[in-house]
């Protein structure tokens, strides 16, 4: 009898759930973005303004996002991959074209950035820029001063020159565990084309990295934020905004740790995080509305002020904190911008060579 009652209640509970979800005509948009990458009040404001509920979920690596997208049926309406991943995903048929007539705010976008993102997404048909930044050198000012006798780092030489890096070995060096960010930097330092896919060039980059490998403590793509902020390490090759986060955490901690960030004078890689809508998005119309809202100058400026990354929205610049807008490590000046380069996605064969090279560099095997 008890069993029967249990069954009944279970069935009825199941049915209620079913009918509830069936009747749920509430407008929803499922957003999948990088962790620590938005001022959460923006999401609340969007819901207040449009009545569309936002289910916000986060990831911390392009690879995880890509795997979900390629498997299909991810259920996300707006995702934010980096441009070089986006390019390949467009080829695989992951995304749908954006209906520009539903995106009036697109006129606010900054041509300097749109021109570069068009390299990955021709005509910017599938995506809109969210944030962009550089790959550069984050460092502990006092420790570098003590080890090298200078508090100003402005060149890749500090990393790729074995003599200089050897001096920093004991205070600790971290490197992004991301071949697509580090191998082009090595190529650039060697005076080669950072976009080169020639095995000869790649093996030269490998050689340069193997020379400094003994002085690198760890390859990791997120641990360096805390390691820099706590003063555990003195140099990291990292993403601009991550280093700024480390700088802010160090300031808040008041332990006397001072963090600097430098865009090397030889040139640094630019990266772009792009908002796009998966082809099988369940709420594509709401997704367009969300993307359009994110292109509102005041909104995206609020986000930049919070996450400390530059965005691709020209009209937003008047609302961005002066300290951020005038910081050349966030918004580089024109001369530096000219030296910034982008890296096209690798074809599968080159990708394999790059990954294998990277394993050799990281593990020595």
């Amino acid at each position: 009898m008890i069993r029967k009652a249990l069954w009944l209640s279970a069935t009825s509970a199941f049915l209620t759930l079913f009918t509830l979800s069936g009747h749920a005509e509430d407008r929803v948009v499922n957003v999948y973005n990088w962790s620590d990458y938005i001022d959460s009040s923006i999401i609340d404001d969007f819901t207040k303004k449009t009545g569309i509920k936002v289910v916000y979920d986060t990831f911390d690596s392009n690879e995880i996002l890509e795997t979900k997208l390629l498997a299909g049926g991810s259920g996300y309406d707006v995702v934010v991959p980096s441009a070089n991943f986006l390019a390949r995903q467009i080829q695989a048929g992951v995304f749908q074209k954006l209906d520009k007539s539903k995106l009036p705010n697109i006129s606010n976008m900054w041509d300097v950035i749109s021109e570069r993102t068009a390299k990955y997404d021709p005509g910017n048909e599938y995506s809109v820029n969210y944030m962009w930044g550089t790959v550069g050198l984050g460092y502990n000012v006092k420790k570098v001063q003590a080890a090298l006798g200078t508090d100003k780092i402005d060149s890749w030489d500090v990393f790729f020159n074995p003599e200089s890096l050897a001096k920093l070995k004991d205070c600790g060096v971290y490197v992004l565990d991301s071949p697509a960010d580090i191998i082009p930097a090595a190529l650039k330092y060697l005076g080669l084309d950072p976009n080169s896919t020639s095995p000869d060039d790649i093996s030269k980059a490998q050689e340069a990295l193997l020379k400094v490998r003994p002085y690198i403590r760890k390859f990791h793509s997120s641990e360096y934020i805390n390691a820099l902020a706590n003063g555990d390490i003195c140099l990291a090759i990292g993403w601009s905004g991550d280093v700024f986060q480390a700088r802010n955490r160090a300031e808040e901690a008041k332990q006397g740790v001072e963090i600097g960030y430098s865009v090397p004078k030889e040139g640094a890689q630019m990266w772009f995080d792009q908002m796009a809508i998966p082809a099988d998005a369940p709420h594509a119309a709401d997704a367009l509305e969300f993307i359009n809202y994110m292109m509102t100058p005041e909104v995206i400026a609020k986000s930049s002020n919070y996450v400390l990354y530059a965005n691709g929205n020209k009209a937003s610049q008047q609302f961005i904190d002066k300290a951020i807008l005038e910081d050349p490590s966030v918004y580089p000046d024109e001369e530096t911008t000219k030296k910034l380069y982008t890296v096209a996605p690798y074809d599968p064969k080159t990708q394999r060579v790059i990954t294998r090279t990277w394993t050799k560099i990281v593990t020595g095997q």
Binding site: S61, E63, I64, E66, T67, L69, L70, A71, G72, R88, Q91, A92, G93, V94, D177, P179, I216, R217, K218, F219, H220, N230, D232, P348, Q351, R352, T355, R356, W358, T359, V362, T363, G364, Q365
Partner: protein, 320 residues
């Protein structure tokens, strides 16, 4: 008498037959359920992974070809099957990387298992010999760490082992060392992490086999003049052997494929099969090759265990 019973009790006959059928059904169900479980949650996923390992990468959704299905009817299904081949397995033999990664993983798992046994045995022995009233509390204490997330416990070790961490501060303060020890990001840290995380899996089976032991055997041995150490090796250890085997398998098998502990505590130079598989799957987006790596890993683990079990079963029969 029997005649009367037979004629007089048609009603009981009809009542017992379904009851018999029902018990037969229940018995069968008891066996079927675990088999169905294995079928749906082990065999079917394994066949899917094996099938992917025979295909090729492609820039598409999903990122491999052929995708075998009945979209183009039965002939489409067989056309897809004909495209499958073993190229990915040949690929694994061409680069020493994979072989080295398997070997490193097996060695790390092996050493960790021995260390876990050395640490776990005294704990289990102490628990089994403790007064029966406090045994449940001790058992509870062994299981207690499971109530905190595994990831948080591994992260906590970073705080303990890092150069400015708890361990080094204590050792420096007591004057035992003058320079902080470098433990984090080395193999030592991986061993510490694995031994710590898997210790309960070793202690619990050991405890259950030690607890069942009849300790009058030890008394008898000692009465007959056997020294305590001899009694341990001649009586206690052989009797706890099933627990030792179960504990070692429970630690060794997951340790081989361990990904999180080497990633967080180990150095970048640690090459284990879990990381290699991750690279193939996520960095190279090569689902077929990563599936092949997974299939080989499964074979490397299950085949020796199958032989071992067969040998054990034979040994048991012979002893009867």
């Amino acid at each position: 008498m029997t005649d009367i019973a037979a004629t007089a009790a048609p009603s009981t006959e009809t009542a017992t037959l379904p009851a018999k059928l029902a018990t037969g059904f229940v018995n069968r169900l008891v066996i079927i359920v675990p088999y169905l479980w294995l079928l749906f949650f082990f065999l079917v996923p394994f066949i899917i992974v094996f099938k992917i390992s025979l295909s090729q990468t492609a820039i598409s959704m999903p990122p491999y070809t052929p995708v075998i299905g009945f979209k183009d009817g039965v002939s489409g299904f067989f056309a897809g099957v004909r495209e499958l081949n073993f190229d990915n397995y040949t690929w694994l033999t061409q680069d020493a990387l994979y072989f080295n990664a398997y070997v490193t993983s097996l060695v790390i798992a092996g050493i960790s298992t021995i260390l876990t046994l050395i640490v776990g045995y005294p704990i289990a022995y102490g628990m089994a010999r403790a007064p029966a009233t406090i045994r449940p509390t001790l058992l509870m204490l062994v299981i207690l760490p499971f109530w905190t997330s595994f990831l948080i416990r591994v992260y906590a070790w970073i705080g303990i082992l890092k150069p400015e961490g708890l361990l080094n501060q204590v050792l420096l303060a007591t004057g035992l060392i003058s320079q902080p020890l470098v433990i984090l990001n080395t193999y030592t840290a991986i061993f510490i992490g694995i031994v710590y995380s898997y210790l309960p899996f070793m202690v619990l089976p050991l405890y259950s086999s030690l607890e069942k032991m009849d300790y009058s055997l030890i008394e008898a041995a000692q009465d007959l003049g056997c020294p305590p150490a001899g009694a341990f090796w001649k009586i206690t250890f052989p009797l706890s052997l099933p627990g030792v085997v179960a504990g070692c398998l429970l630690v060794f098998i997951p340790a081989v494929g361990e990904f999180v502990i080497p990633d967080l505590l180990g150095g970048s130079q640690t090459l284990m099969i879990g990381k290699t598989l991750w690279n193939e799957f996520f960095s190279n987006r090569d689902w077929p090759v990563s599936s092949a790596v997974a299939v080989i890993l499964l074979l490397v683990l299950t085949i020796p265990i199958m032989f071992f079990q067969q040998a054990q079963a034979k040994a048991q029969e012979q002893s009867k």
